[in-house]
């Protein structure tokens, strides 16, 4: 009745996507970014430990989602542009500059590319900031979620977010959100990666699956 299955496995012809959960939140004095680590091609997991938090500069990171190749390429190009820009200006670039560079590429090639990057970091002028660049728009937000897993946690983040959280509370918030999303989204999973950025710099952390918090399923 249904069409017969093709001779080749499906995942060979599927685009490699970072079906993902990514999240970034600003707190007093910095930002915390978090991501899962699953890269899928259709129903097959091709990398279960990919770090989707990519540095654009010392204190500016971006979280990748959508097509893996598109997102990585955008991040590398913006990293190159920020290298030149920051050396010419003689100081650390603004988070807004990084986000604008990402947005310009996303907008110009919006028909060809399929990736969404959340840009977050710390700069001297405005402290910790989080920007979304979906489809080529640029918008600063107190926090942002993205990727396929984000749909499952909109309720959670909307209810649980409070202004003026401390660094530790923000890190817990991110880990909880990631865990909940990874628990329900088939395209998100693996380990959780965290990056905390403040005036001192960026600190990366990896939380393996067995150290993530448990919720109803304990």
């Amino acid at each position: 009745m249904l069409g017969e299955s093709s001779i080749q496995p499906e995942w060979l012809s599927e685009e490699v996507k970072t079906g993902t959960t990514i999240i970034a939140i600003g707190y007093e004095g910095g930002v915390v970014l978090g991501s899962d680590s699953r890269v899928s091609a259709g129903a097959s997991v091709v990398n279960r430990v990919m770090n989707k938090l990519s540095p654009l500069h010392d204190k500016i990171y971006c979280a990748l989602s959508g097509s893996a190749a598109d997102a990585q390429t955008i991040a590398e190009i913006v990293n190159y542009q920020l290298d030149v820009h920051s050396i010419e200006v003689g100081e650390d670039p603004l988070v807004r500059s990084a986000a604008t560079l990402v947005k310009n590429i996303s907008y110009k090639y919006k028909e060809e590319l399929s990736a969404h990057l959340i840009v977050a970091g710390w700069d001297r002028r405005a402290g910790g900031q989080v920007y979304v660049t979906l489809d080529g728009l640029l918008s600063m937000q107190p926090f942002a979620v993205g990727g396929s897993g984000s749909s499952y946690i909109y309720g959670f983040v909307d209810a649980e977010y409070r202004k003026g959280m401390t660094k530790k509370e923000s890190q817990e918030f991110v880990v909880n959100a990631l865990t909940l999303a990874m628990g329900r989204d088939g395209s998100s999973g693996g380990v959780a990666y965290l990056v905390t950025i403040d005036q001192e710099g960026a600190v990366e952390r990896c939380i393996p699956g067995n150290e993530l918090p448990t919720f109803f399923d304990q």
């Binding site: 590398e76 190009i77 990293n79 190159y80 290298d83 030149v84 050396i87 010419e88 003689g90």
Partner: protein
Amino acid sequence: MSRGANAGFDRHITIFSPEGRLYQVEYAFKAIAQSGLTSVGIRGTDCTVIVTQKKVPDKLLDASTITNMFRLTPRIGCVMTGHYADSRSQVHRARIEAAEWKYKFGYEITADMLCRRMADISQVYTQNAEMRPLGCCMILVAIDPQLGPLLYKCDPAGYFCGFRATAVGAKQTEANSYLEKKLKKRPELTFDRTVEMAISCLSSVLSLDFKSSELEVGVVSKENPKFRTLTAEEIEVHLVAIAERE
């Protein structure tokens, strides 16, 4: 072999003279001395130091906006001697070349490769009739993770080389002799000794007692591989140490 063969253009554009010289390139070297400044670079055991004069010709100028020391990458710095506008153009090009290398190959360019690239670009100007060579000379410094402290220089002729110590500018001949004499016995070159030797070299050939506001000092060291310029207070400490030794 007749002098009429080039119709006298060999002095005006970069083509060979009958004797095999490139006059435009030689004039470019004269332009470096024209600026009136001298710069010195010395490679120590664990550091490399570059020093240049800071002359503020006009009382109305804001001295903090004038500099001849430039950062090319976080770990590579340079001092430019010669025509100021040409210097800035070369620095800009070097920064772009370094960033492009990192983007294309995935790792940071080293000082010797960057110097080679800048020298190759300068060489093109000595063959193009429509573009003149740049009237400036670049001394690069960095700490290479494998090779240790590096000191490289590239000039308008497209020639580049690594040095233990070198000088460029109006008083380069005298400064180079001074450096040769001081380094003959291969002395122990700690960070402080290297900085003080570079400053003393300039003081000696220019017969000037410097104030800390009249000098720019750029350093890279194994403890701090990022290129940085010393503040006026730090320079003062070294000037005092030099005075006390005499």
